[in-house]
């Protein structure tokens, strides 16, 4: 109950501040939209279903792309952390490859897949894959040695060792990295959707910008934040809670 109250207070204050700033008219409303302008935009967007469609399309893309990134990133990360050759060669490139803006991958995506969903998925995957890989590698490397030793000592080998020991032992790292990967995936998706208009929130954002419709821009921001909030709550927060419960990272009394 108290938690809910605190949340209500926080968001009320936030919106109040926004409304106040908008009311003061320091900036004209098409530069600094009012909450009610944005609310109206959201209302229209939802009532003509265009926002629902945009959300459905973008969520589908980001979820598929992200899921592939997570699986592939984990495998890659494990490879990099356990294979000396890969570590020396790929390992040093992970951070820098991850620094490449998504737009760099777009020509390649077009070349390989043409203008379609796959190209967008490719950009999303390239945007988040190496982030997950990095997290996995770091998790694997910075995991206390004792877990690996205990696992091997008890007979775990190869995939078993990975699945039953290395993965759970580095889960605290991985969960942290997964969040970053999620953010990367969204950003890449929006970039891709802005390059090639094919529904999705990126399109709404682009069009809002193209038509100088700040209400729409803010509406999309709110939608992205809202979706992130839900996913964070459903996936990451609950993973963290489980982790903290198991590992005893919260007070138990």
């Amino acid at each position: 109950m108290k938690r809910a109250a605190r949340l209500v207070i926080f968001y009320t204050c936030l919106f109040g501040l926004w409304a106040l700033l908008a009311q003061l008219k320091i900036w004209p409303p098409y530069l600094f939209p009012t909450p009610w302008g944005v609310a109206q935009e959201l209302y229209y967007g939802f009532s003509d279903h265009s926002y629902w469609i945009a959300i459905a399309v973008s969520m589908r893309r980001v979820l598929i792309g992200y899921a592939i990134s997570v699986v592939a990133g984990m495998i890659l990360g494990l490879g990099v952390a356990s294979n000396k050759f890969l570590e020396e060669t790929m390992g040093g490139l992970l951070v820098s490859l991850q620094s490449l803006p998504s737009i760099c991958w777009w020509p390649l995506a077009l070349l390989w897949f043409g203008l379609n969903q796959k190209a967008i998925l490719f950009v999303v995957i390239m945007g988040s894959l190496l982030s997950v890989t990095l997290a996995m590698e770091d998790g694997r490397k910075q995991m206390p040695k004792i877990y690996g030793m205990a696992g091997r000592n008890l007979g775990a080998r190869g995939f078993q060792l990975f699945w039953h020991v290395l993965l759970p032992a580095s889960l605290p790292f991985i969960v942290s990295g997964l969040k970053q990967g999620w953010a990367f995936a969204w950003r890449s998706l929006i970039t891709a959707e802005m390059l090639y208009v094919s529904l999705g929130l990126g399109q709404v954002l682009m069009m809002g910008r193209e038509t100088s419709n700040m209400n729409a821009v803010i509406a999309v921001m709110i939608l992205i934040i809202g979706l992130g909030y839900i996913v964070d709550g459903l996936i990451f927060k609950s993973m963290e809670k489980r982790l903290q419960h198991k590992w005893g990272l919260t007070a138990a009394t």
């Binding site: 205990a150 091997r152 000592n153 008890l154 198991k246 590992w247």
Partner: protein, 317 residues
Amino acid sequence: MSSNIQNAAAPIVIPGHRSPARVAGPRSKFGPASIGHTLGHVSPEIAKVGLSEICLSYRTHGGERLLALDHINLQVRPGEFLCVVGPSGCGKSTLLHLIAGLHPQTSGQILVDGRPVEGPGPDRILIFQELGLFPWLTVGENVEFGMKMKGVSKAEREEKTRYYLRLVHLWQFKKSYTHQLSGGMRQRVALARALATEPDVLLMDEPFAALDAQTRDLLHDELERIWAETGRTIIFVTHNVREAIRLGDRVVLLTFRPGRVKREFSIDLPRPRVLEDVHVAHAARAILDELREEINRSLEVEYSVGVKPHLAPGAEQ
């Protein structure tokens, strides 16, 4: 009394000098070598675990190397209960890690069943001094872990988990996570986990150090029973000399850094033995005397470069 303990062979190995193991060394004042089996005759062929000329050095700060184990020679018979004692930091844990195949030795050879050790194997399970329980698993799952890796069926796993958790009095806690246990309880989980895997060779690194006297006594009995019933080979590290005598067929005393085999004692007391027994106490004294020598040596090393803080005269135990 003196017939109960036997100093079988304690070749004082000179650093760098390759002395064959098991040649007759200086005899302990506690008795003739004739009593009990002659340890010197465990040939490497029939040994369950054979260490020859094992050295291990660690890298330390500033690129120096610290010699932890120095030309260790040791043959363990199949079904033997070998206890290893020595001053703190002498290399006991390191020795068990090597046998478990968790690091490679710097030089020398370790044979298990005549084959060189090349990594960990399900035939040798170590109870780590740091325990190494998995915090993401419940107590029950921790105990099951080794069996799962071996591919034991679910039903059997459950049965054994129950059996061994009962054995260490923690069945009620099977669904707890390790952070919810006390220090002694964790140690018992690690014990159950290792026992449940039922390895040929059990390597135990101070497995009872955090237990109260009564619980430890109960577990001594259980361990001895399991050992007797299954014929497992046990290498048991402890800092408690009485515990070593209570359990071991033979006690090996390591020297202070670098760890060498200072002396071996064959324990011929009839089983079951009792920790508080006068015979055990008497036997312990001999080993403790040797141990004291080592500690004094360690103090010399420690204080050779500065002022010695006030130290009370060595106590009696």
